[in-house]
Symmetry: C2
Subunit: 274 residues, 2 copies
């Protein structure tokens, strides 16, 4: 049994110091094997130029990530979180997974960029990696990460499921109002027989674009969804919180649905997209 | 504006003659530009050996298809229907699209085989074709077909959307009770910005397998779903019916969702499934 906690936070735009204090409070409070934070959890979201974002971006071996590792170790907890990454002059909308010993277990850069992210970030160049984390109970999880707008692309979650992900974590800053978010997350879990852990931020941010102010409202709705599409827990408020659920990984590790059918081996990969 | 009719019928197992009479009644009654019938609409479903199914399978140029074409022409209506096809000694779980002039417009053989279909049918070898039909109003539809269990595979609907399908028709004989069917169909429409026309049969069939009788209950729930996930109409009864909806194809032909994003061109095909 794995206890997952999805953090719904409200980072302050541009204030890494304040956001790191808030981050540590959540980690200290959390009662879980693994805890997931939203996208760009230390900087806020609504950058409209790379120049602006570069000022507070962090390298993977920088001080911010060192501090996150230290907090994970001190609290003996696995952490997945989004952060604003810089490397070789490029910016990435990234996420890392840290194990309970404070070691880097996984690294993902957002593949599908949304809205002004296209003028700020380079598209992710690490593919869709699946990595193993041993949580504090000793149980090993195979973990994948998607970030926000990746949710719309069935190929993204599918790529992780094919590689054996048990849990797909989705740090997010959702601003769209399609009405189909929760249903799509349920289907991503169901069609791949995986657990979905969706951590979405709340609050608002403003930016001035070509002389006009645009405000984004972040939607919250952080949730944990079981392999069969059942919503195990959800925070539908606009407040900060940690949403918890316990999941059994044995359930996701067989993709059989009857004596003839297996939803992964039944794929006919050579026929798709041709 | 295109008027779609989804037939929810209850074919009699093994009785092509009776099912064809029923078929013609539905077509004559239908008030639509295009009408969709379920999977294996002329033979019934629950074959457990190829020998049994071969006896009533029909070639694409056989009498059954000639009769279907004639009925389409006489009623000036486009028709999509499932049928049990034989060719070169193999059986396929197939569907055809006939235009209002009675001409063959498209042909699909089910790619993902479910349950005992694996011992009866060969897997589809025509890929996921998209074909154009001019309906009686003169409007042209780009049409794709999936059959039943194909619904579970996001790659299948996606393959059709990438090729420009406006409407994905899904002749079906659903027997599973996952609780996620309607949600998944909604997401298939939403994630691809296409209309889904789902025609599912009702009734029951029995078969004796290794001395034990197994009964299948077909679930109905025929429905038409708009590009944004809205269920335009649904028959949730266990009765026979035609479910209608009017759709605007201009809505599905732009895949843009804002000034930066397009849900098809934003795909990063070289990264998936690697």
């Amino acid at each position: 049994m794995i206890r997952i906690g999805c953090v719904q936070s409200n980072p302050i735009f541009g204030d890494i110091k304040a956001n790191l204090i808030q981050f540590e409070k959540f980690v200290t409070e959390a009662d879980a094997d693994i805890i997931i934070f939203p996208e760009l959890a230390f900087t806020g979201y609504f950058f409209t130029s790379a120049e602006e974002a570069k000022k507070i971006a962090e390298p993977l071996d920088g001080l911010l990530i060192k501090k996150i590792k230290q907090i994970a170790k001190e609290n003996n907890i696995a952490i997945v979180t989004g952060f604003l990454e810089k490397e070789n002059g490029l910016l990435y909308n990234s996420a890392i997974a840290i194990d309970p010993h404070g070691e880097l277990a996984g690294h993902y850069r957002k593949v599908h960029l949304f809205y002004y992210e296209k003028v700020v970030f380079a598209p992710g160049n690490l593919g869709f990696p699946v990595f193993e984390i041993e949580v504090r109970s000793g149980e090993k999880i195979k973990l994948g990460v998607l970030i926000c707008y990746d949710w719309r692309f069935p190929e993204a979650a599918r790529s992780l499921a094919i590689k054996g992900a048990d849990i797909i974590t989705i740090p997010s800053n959702i601003v769209t109002t399609t009405g189909m978010l929760l249903e799509t997350l349920k289907v991503r879990a169901f069609e791949n027989k995986v657990v979905i852990a969706f951590s979405d931020r709340v609050g608002t941010e403003k930016s001035v674009i070509e002389g006009k102010t645009e405000e984004l409202l972040f939607r919250g709705g952080s949730c944990i969804i079981n392999y069969n599409g059942d919503v195990l827990s959800i925070d539908s408020s606009q407040g900060e919180s940690i949403t918890y659920a316990d999941v059994l990984l044995c359930e996701v590790r067989s993709k059989n649905i009857n004596k003839f059918n297996n939803i992964i081996t039944d794929r006919q990969a050579e026929i798709y997209f041709t």
